[in-house]
């Protein structure tokens, strides 16, 4: 099976004025279709940076990032935006819902960029909210929801366009233990039942243990795959 994500010799150097901060140095990583990969590593090791490169919201200084056969590092900004909207679902540590929109409207946002009719959008939004178990809260505003519920709305927003890949940067980082468990159960289900390929970053070993594969990032370098590799 061809790998869905193929990262070859990727490096990333942040430049601000004349100061250069090398963050990633020659990373090689393959993620197969349907995989659930957890990235761990100390703070500042470059996890978010790597995740952003895979998601196409940042560009590498060198190397290739091939996702589904497309070298996304070579796409123009607008082509990349289009590519993201149909291929990537984002889940953030701080949910990042729009506070003035209801749960329903937040989930609907990505669909506004599609040609779907209002009725079709409604079906998709309700299906996504059903999967995360919040259909009955669809008219709530973010501040009327608990942190765990907000994150589930954010997950519904991430899956509503039915993307290939879910990108999650510390999705449980701001949640209590129980909510974190629920979120990880949901993520596992999205992986097994809905066949989403998931790349997740976490600090927490327990969270990481729910993934199929675990990789460690240390000072911009990916450590060799450990025994948990699928």
């Amino acid at each position: 099976m061809a790998n869905l994500i193929e990262i070859k010799e990727v490096s990333k150097i942040y430049r601000r004025d004349s100061i250069e901060t090398p963050v990633l140095t020659g990373i090689n990583l393959s993620v197969g279709n349907g995989e659930f990969l957890a990235l761990m590593g100390p703070s500042g090791s470059g996890k978010t940076t790597l995740l952003n490169l895979i998601a196409g919201i940042d560009k590498p200084t060198g190397g290739e990032i091939i996702v589904g056969g497309t070298d996304i590092a070579r796409l123009s900004e607008s082509a990349l935006a289009k590519w993201r909207s149909s291929n990537i679902g984002f889940i953030f540590q701080f949910y990042n819902l729009i506070p003035v929109l209801t749960a329903y409207e937040n989930v609907e946002l990505p669909l506004l960029l599609t040609k779907l009719s209002k009725q079709e959008r409604k079906q998709h939004v309700e299906a996504a909210l059903n999967i995360v178990g919040l259909a009955e809260r669809m008219n709530y505003y973010p501040k009327q929801l608990s942190g765990g519920q907000e994150q589930r709305v954010a997950i519904a927003r991430a899956i509503v366009t039915d993307p290939l890949i879910l990108i999650a940067d510390e999705p449980t980082g701001d949640l209590d233990k129980n909510s974190a468990e629920e979120i990880m159960t949901l993520m596992q289900r999205l992986n097994s039942e809905f066949k989403k390929t998931i790349v997740l970053v976490t600090h927490d070993a327990h969270t990481a243990s729910r993934a199929k594969t675990l990789r460690h990032l240390e000072k911009g370098d990916l450590l060799p795959a450990d025994g948990q590799a699928a």
Binding site: T48, T49, N52, A55, I57, D58, S78, A81, K82, R84, S85, S86, F90, F92, F94, N96, I98, P99, V100, L101, E105, E108, L109, P110, L112, L113, R157
Partner: protein
């Protein structure tokens, strides 16, 4: 469209802040509206002046009268079609705060030299035949509820005594810019009274107004009139009505240009008020905008959202301001009785205010748009306000 809803919801995210911004813009637009109205009112006398009328006054000062005998001489000057004359009557109606202009005019010639003051046949006949009658402007009549037959009592100052004038009729202004706040009384009646009380001041005219014939050169006609009275005890100065008005305005010129200047400073203030709000909002939403971009929203979408919000707030402020301008101008007009002219909000003022508000809405969005566009998604998502 869904995006409109988001723009609307975004605008009222901080209700108090948005409300204060709208109020701030509204008050500024209101001040702008009042200033422009006053500036326009100053100018409207000049615009209302007719190009084919000349004014002849004493060469030294406007206050010195001219002899009535000049009338027949001026009438003979080639190029002069009609002549009329008038005096400033002055006096007080009720008290100083109820100011309007009062002129004693020649009942036979005045209304044909000034066709823009339209009166009916009956009123005109009565004005000519009834010595103590008067004609009042429609705006003046409306303000004091004057009707034909009413008696208006004026306390004289230039012409001392208590004067009673009976309203013969009401004149209508032909154009919007025509003054509708004046009172015209019968010069012959005034002259007869003066003969009795101050014989020395009889047969004196404040100034003459000539209507020139089609095709006549105003400059040359003026010269010929003034030449008639050169080296006489009362030399004259004749100029076009427009020059005459402008000369009168020149003294007020510094004030007008200051008001002009301030009215545009106000536009700058509106811009700062709105730009401040917009910059705060955009900063708070750095992360949201980055998330929207990550999801696939384009720069165009963000431009639309930010510009839409800025325009919505500026337009709401503008509309509020325009609505507030009317009562402000009316109350200003009622206690200051400005120049005797009807002070009203002109459409040019509304258009200028509206244009300024749209301009401000766009300008205030530029910096936030730039910021939203230039923030890299990855940095925006990391951003902690």
């Amino acid at each position: 469209m869904k995006v409109l809803k988001l723009i609307f919801k975004n605008s009222f995210r901080h209700k108090l802040r948005t409300f204060l911004t709208i109020l701030g813009i509204g008050v500024a637009v209101m001040a702008f509206g009042l200033l422009r109205t006053v500036v326009n009112a100053f100018g409207s006398g000049v615009r209302a002046s007719s190009a084919d009328r000349l004014v002849t006054r004493d060469a030294v000062t406007f206050i010195n009268p001219l002899p009535l005998s000049y009338f027949n001489q001026i009438k003979q000057v080639p190029g002069v079609k009609q002549v009329t004359y008038m005096n400033w009557f002055g006096g007080t109606y009720i008290d100083q705060s109820h100011f309007f202009a009062r002129y004693a005019v020649d009942p036979n010639t005045f209304f044909s030299v000034y066709p823009e003051y339209e009166i009916g046949k009956k009123a005109f006949a009565e004005f000519q035949s009834q010595p103590n009658s008067c004609i009042v402007g429609s705006a003046l009549a409306q303000r004091y509820n004057f009707k034909a037959g009413d008696v208006i009592t004026i306390n004289g100052d230039i012409y001392p005594g208590t004067w009673e004038f009976q309203v013969a009729g009401i004149y209508k202004p032909e154009f919007k810019s025509t003054d509708a706040m004046s009172m015209f009384l019968n010069w012959n009646y005034l002259n007869e009274e003066v003969k009795q009380t101050f014989p020395g001041r009889a047969d004196e005219v404040g100034w003459y107004v000539e209507q020139i014939a089609n095709g006549a050169n105003p400059g040359e006609v003026s010269k010929e009139i003034d030449a008639l009275f050169a080296n006489s005890p009362a030399e004259t100065k004749t100029e076009s009505e427009r020059q005459f008005q402008q000369g009168f305005l020149a003294s007020a010129g510094a004030i007008i240009s200051a008001m002009n200047y301030v009215s545009f400073v106000i536009v700058g203030i509106i811009m700062l008020v709105l730009a401040n709000t917009m910059i705060m909002s955009a900063r708070e939403r750095t992360r949201e905008y980055a998330v929207l971009k990550a999801i696939g929203f384009s720069g165009r979408h963000l431009v639309g959202m930010i510009l839409g919000e800025s325009l919505l707030v500026s337009l709401l402020g503008g509309i509020l301001g325009i609505f507030l301008t009317y009562p402000l101008v009316n109350s200003f007009a009622s206690f200051s009785n400005f120049l005797g002219a009807e002070l009203s909000v002109q459409s040019i003022t509304l258009i200028t205010a509206f244009t300024a508000v749209v301009f401000v809405g766009i300008a205030a969005a530029i910096f936030p748009i730039q910021r939203a566009m230039n923030t890299r998604i990855a940095d925006g998502i990391r951003f902690v306000g």
